[in-house]
C-alpha cells in the first residue's frame, strides 16, 4: 500500500508536467489545445529517434527537442491558430482537434503502430527504504524533472518581462500594446513555451512507460483531468491534480484504474468545475 502511494505521488509529477502546457495556454491565452497530447507523443518520438541515432542518453536529446518544439509551437500559433482564434472559440477548438488527428495518423505512418520506450542506465534501480518499500530511481527522476519544469515556468511567467507580457496581453491587448508589447508575437511565444514543456513531458513519459503513435489522446485526457482538478493556470493545482490522478491509476489497478480516474474527473466536473484551487 505504501509502495503504491509512493508510485502514485511520483506519477503525479509526470502527469502535472503533461498538463502544464495545456493549462497555461487555456488559463492565460484562452486556447484549448486538443492536440497537446499528440505534441507530447511527437516529442517522445523525436527523443527516441535522436537517442537511437546519436547513441546518447535520452536526457541529452532535450537540447534539440525543446528548441524544435518551441519553434513548431511558435510557427503554428503565428500562422494558423492566431488567425482562427479571431473567428470564435469553437473554430480554434476544432482546428486543434483536426491537428490532433493529422498528427496521430502522421505518426502512425512514420513510426508504425509499434510501441517504443527509451531506456536509461538506472532503468530498474531502486532506493531501499525498508523490506517492502522502495523508491524507484527512474520514477523519482522524472517526477523531479516535472516539478522542476513547473517551478521554472512559474518563475518565468511571474518574474520576467516576456512572461509578464504574456499575462498582460491576455488581460488587456490594447493596454499591453500601449506599454510597448508587440502583441503579434506574444501568443506565439506562449504556444512555443507550451510545446517546449511538451518536449520535456514527452521524455518523462517515454522513459518509464512504453508509448504508441496513438497514446496522445489518453495523455490529453489525463492532462485535461489534472487541469480541471487543479484549476486552469494554477501551478500548485496542477501538481495536486497530478498526484490525485497518479494515485487513482495506481490504486485502481491496470484494468479499472483509468476508468476510476475518468469517473473521479466527471464527478469533479459536475460538482466543482472551477477546480480545487480557484475561488
Amino acid at each position: 500500500m505504501i509502495q503504491q502511494i509512493i508510485y502514485g505521488i511520483l506519477y503525479g509529477g509526470v502527469f502535472a508536467l503533461a498538463a502544464i502546457g495545456m493549462s497555461m495556454m487555456f488559463g492565460i491565452v484562452g486556447l484549448t489545445n486538443l492536440a497537446h497530447g499528440e505534441f507530447i507523443i511527437l516529442a517522445a518520438f523525436l527523443s527516441s529517434v535522436l537517442c537511437t541515432a546519436l547513441g546518447c542518453s535520452p536526457f541529452l536529446t532535450l537540447i534539440i527537442t525543446v528548441p524544435v518544439m518551441f519553434i513548431v509551437g511558435f510557427i503554428l500559433q503565428k500562422v494558423l491558430i492566431n488567425y482562427v482564434m479571431g473567428k470564435g472559440a469553437n473554430a480554434a477548438l476544432l482546428v486543434t482537434f483536426g491537428l490532433s488527428f493529422i498528427l496521430k495518423d502522421g505518426m502512425l505512418q512514420i513510426f508504425s503502430a509499434d510501441s517504443r520506450r527509451m531506456v536509461v542506465a538506472f532503468q530498474s534501480a531502486n532506493i531501499r527504504i525498508s523490506d517492502s518499500v522502495v523508491i524507484p530511481v527512474l520514477y523519482l527522476v522524472v517526477c523531479l524533472i516535472g516539478v522542476a519544469v513547473i517551478v521554472i515556468l512559474h518563475l518565468f511567467m511571474s518574474k520576467t518581462y516576456v512572461g509578464q507580457s504574456i499575462r498582460a496581453t491576455s488581460d488587456d491587448k490594447v493596454a499591453a500594446q500601449l506599454v510597448g508589447v508587440n502583441i503579434k508575437n506574444v501568443t506565439a511565444v506562449a504556444m512555443g513555451i507550451a510545446l517546449a514543456t511538451a518536449a520535456v513531458s514527452g521524455l518523462t513519459l517515454g522513459m518509464p512507460w512504453p508509448f504508441y503513435a496513438t497514446s496522445g489522446s489518453g495523455y490529453l485526457l489525463i492532462a485535461f483531468g489534472v487541469v480541471v482538478l487543479g484549476g486552469m493556470g494554477s501551478m500548485i493545482g496542477a501538481l495536486v491534480g497530478g498526484v490525485i490522478f497518479g494515485l487513482a491509476q495506481v490504486l485502481g489497478g491496470s484494468n479499472w484504474g483509468v476508468f476510476i480516474s475518468y469517473i473521479i474527473l466527471l464527478i469533479f466536473l459536475a460538482v466543482r468545475p472551477q477546480g480545487l484551487f480557484k475561488k
Binding site: 487555456f26 484549448t32 486538443l34 494558423l80 488567425y83 482562427v84 473567428k87 472559440a89 469553437n90 473554430a91 477548438l93 476544432l94 482546428v95 482537434f97 483536426g98 491537428l99 488527428f101 493529422i102 496521430k104 495518423d105 502522421g106 502512425l108 505512418q109 489522446s217 489518453g218 485526457l221 485535461f224 483531468g225 480541471v228 484494468n255 479499472w256 483509468v258 476508468f259 475518468y262 469517473i263 474527473l265 466527471l266 464527478i267 466536473l269 459536475a270 468545475p273
Partner: protein, 325 residues
C-alpha cells in the same frame, strides 16, 4: 399579406410533395435491385453519417453544446444491439428501440452532470465520458471484455432492408430537427445562441431546451448506431467508442456548414465519397480529412452551405417562422 401567406403555403406543400416522391422513388429503386450492392453500401453510409451529423449539428450548431463524445451513443447503441439480438434473441425493432432508449437515458445522466459547463469544458467532458464507457466495456465480462461481440439476428436483414431502415432513420432525424427548431423551443434556442443572458432574462428555459436537444440527439444517434452495427455485424469497445466517430462527424458538419439544416447532409455525401476515394490510401484518410477541415475553417468558416446561403441569401429548409406583419 394574405397572398404572401397563401403562396408560402403552396410552396411548402409543393416541397413536401416533391420530397415525398423522391423518398418513394429511392425506396422503390432500393427494393427492385436497381442499385448495385456497392452503391447501396455507399447510400447506407451516407444516410447513417448524415443522421449522426444532423444530431451533432442540433447540439453544436443550435443548442451551443459542442460535444466530442457522441461516440458514447454509437458504441452504447452497438452494444445494446448486440446484447438484445445475440444474448436475448430479440429482433431488430426491439434492438433499435432499446438502443435509442439506453442512449436517451445516458443523455439525461450526462446532461445533469455536464451541462452546467460551457465550451471546451463540456467538449472534453463528453469525450472523457465516452472514454470511461470504453474502458468499462473493455473490462466488463458480460459483454466479453475487449474481444467484443457479434450481432446475430435470424434471419439477418438484407442489404436493401438495412438501407431502408437507415434511410427511414435519416428522414426521421431531418423531420424531428426541422419540427424541433420550428417549435417554441427552437425559437428559444436561436435567441439563446445570439445572446444567452438576454434569452434567459426573457424567460427562455435554457436548461430545458438544451436537455431536450441532448435527449433527442442521444435517442436518434442511438437508433442510427444500432443500424450501423446491424450493417457491420460485430462490435468491440475500441471501435465502438472510438473518437474516430466524432472526427468523422465533426468533419462532416464543418465542411457542410455548422448551424445549417442542409450542411450535415451535404457534408455526409462529400465525406462518404471522399472516403471511397481515399480507401486506396489507407492510413492517410484522417490526415486528409484533418487538412480539409482546417482549410475549410480558415477559408469558409460557415461551411459550404453556410457560405452559399450567405452569398445568395437563401436558406434550405428554413425553420424561420413567417412573421405576421
Amino acid at each position: 399579406m394574405i397572398k404572401n401567406n397563401a403562396r408560402s403555403k403552396t410552396s411548402t406543400i409543393i416541397t413536401i410533395v416533391v420530397l415525398a416522391i423522391i423518398v418513394a422513388l429511392i425506396y422503390v429503386l432500393a427494393f427492385t435491385g436497381v442499385f448495385s450492392s456497392n452503391l447501396m453500401r455507399i447510400l447506407l453510409n451516407i444516410c447513417l453519417y448524415a443522421s449522426f451529423a444532423v444530431m451533432w449539428n442540433l447540439m453544436a450548431g443550435y443548442a451551443g453544446l459542442t460535444s466530442l463524445g457522441n461516440q458514447a451513443f454509437i458504441g452504447l447503441a452497438g452494444y445494446a444491439c448486440a446484447v438484445m439480438c445475440t444474448t436475448y434473441g430479440f429482433g431488430i425493432w426491439v434492438a433499435m428501440l432499446v438502443g435509442g432508449l439506453v442512449c436517451a437515458v445516458l443523455a439525461v445522466i450526462l446532461a445533469f452532470a455536464l451541462m452546467r459547463m460551457r465550451g471546451m469544458y463540456f467538449a472534453v467532458a463528453t469525450w472523457v465520458a465516452a472514454e470511461a464507457l470504453k474502458t468499462a466495456f473493455q473490462n466488463w465480462k458480460f459483454v466479453k471484455e475487449g474481444a467484443g461481440m457479434t450481432v446475430k439476428i435470424k434471419p439477418y436483414p438484407t442489404n436493401a432492408e438495412i438501407f431502408a431502415l437507415a434511410f427511414g432513420c435519416f428522414i426521421v432525424c431531418m423531420v424531428v430537427v426541422y419540427l424541433l427548431l420550428k417549435s417554441k423551443t427552437g425559437l428559444g434556442l436561436k435567441a439563446m445562441r445570439d445572446d444567452a443572458d438576454a434569452a434567459s432574462s426573457i424567460g427562455v428555459n435554457i436548461f430545458g431546451s438544451r436537455l431536450l436537444c441532448y435527449v433527442v440527439c442521444g435517442f436518434l444517434t442511438g437508433v442510427a448506431g444500432v443500424i450501423m452495427y446491424i450493417s457491420k455485424g460485430s462490435i468491440f469497445p475500441g471501435g465502438g467508442f472510438a473518437i474516430d466517430w466524432t472526427i468523422k462527424i465533426v468533419f462532416i458538419v464543418i465542411i457542410g456548414g455548422i448551424g445549417t439544416a442542409a450542411g450535415p447532409v451535404l457534408g455526409a455525401i462529400i465525406y462518404t465519397l471522399l472516403y471511397e476515394v481515399l480507401a486506396q490510401f489507407a492510413g492517410f484518410t484522417n490526415i486528409v480529412l484533418g487538412i480539409v477541415a482546417i482549410v475549410v475553417i480558415v477559408v469558409l468558416p460557415k461551411g459550404i452551405i453556410g457560405s452559399l446561403e450567405n452569398r445568395f441569401k437563401f436558406e434550405i429548409l428554413s425553420q424561420r417562422r413567417k412573421s405576421l406583419e
